[in-house]
Symmetry: C2
């Protein structure tokens, strides 16, 4: 359950996903993540290091540890699902019952 908590922090999933492709430097990684806040990125990176999912290379760039790559691969099915999900949302337009919510804003 602690894993769901760790992953349930903004940007963590995204960072793991981006680092899975290739080692990235701080600023480049930041750009890959839609220019997320540098302060939070730093925080997430140290968290990931403490969790032994990420580590720093000699040249200073960040990578996933074997355990980290393992985690990212476990994320594969989620990505596959997201495609089906996107397709489903594209087909079915929002229901009247769903818009019925008042001024509440929930951006996806």
């Amino acid at each position: 359950m602690a894993a769901l908590d760790l992953f349930g922090r903004r940007w963590t999933l995204r960072i793991i996903w981006e680092l899975g492709n290739e080692p990235l430097g701080f600023r480049l990684l930041q750009r890959r993540c839609d220019g997320m806040s540098s302060s939070v990125l730093q925080q997430r990176l140290t968290e990931l290091q403490e969790a032994r999912l990420a580590e720093v290379l000699h040249d200073g760039s960040y990578t996933l540890t074997p355990l980290g790559h393992d985690a990212r691969e476990s994320l594969g099915p989620v990505i596959e699902w997201s495609r089906r999900w996107a397709a489903e949302l594209a087909d079915a337009p929002p229901t009247a019952a769903e818009d019925a919510g008042d001024g509440q804003r929930n951006r996806l």
Copy 2:
């Protein structure tokens, strides 16, 4: 990528996981999620409904839609991985290099 954003919100993963076992009423679901804040639970539930992952039953309890169950199953590998992760962390005590971080607190 939008999926990683949706899931990267506090409690969302947990809620999907809990709802996957069985339909749950509001207050019961809240208790299953370590007594999370009711306001946020309400927010997450409407978000999940808009995303077509969850829906309300006639008796008022919440369930996952077929698409939602699909999502939860895609979460399976993540759960499996978390077990290996927990085992790994138990074996290897924190490194000196990791504690080297100053007053920064990052609770897992």
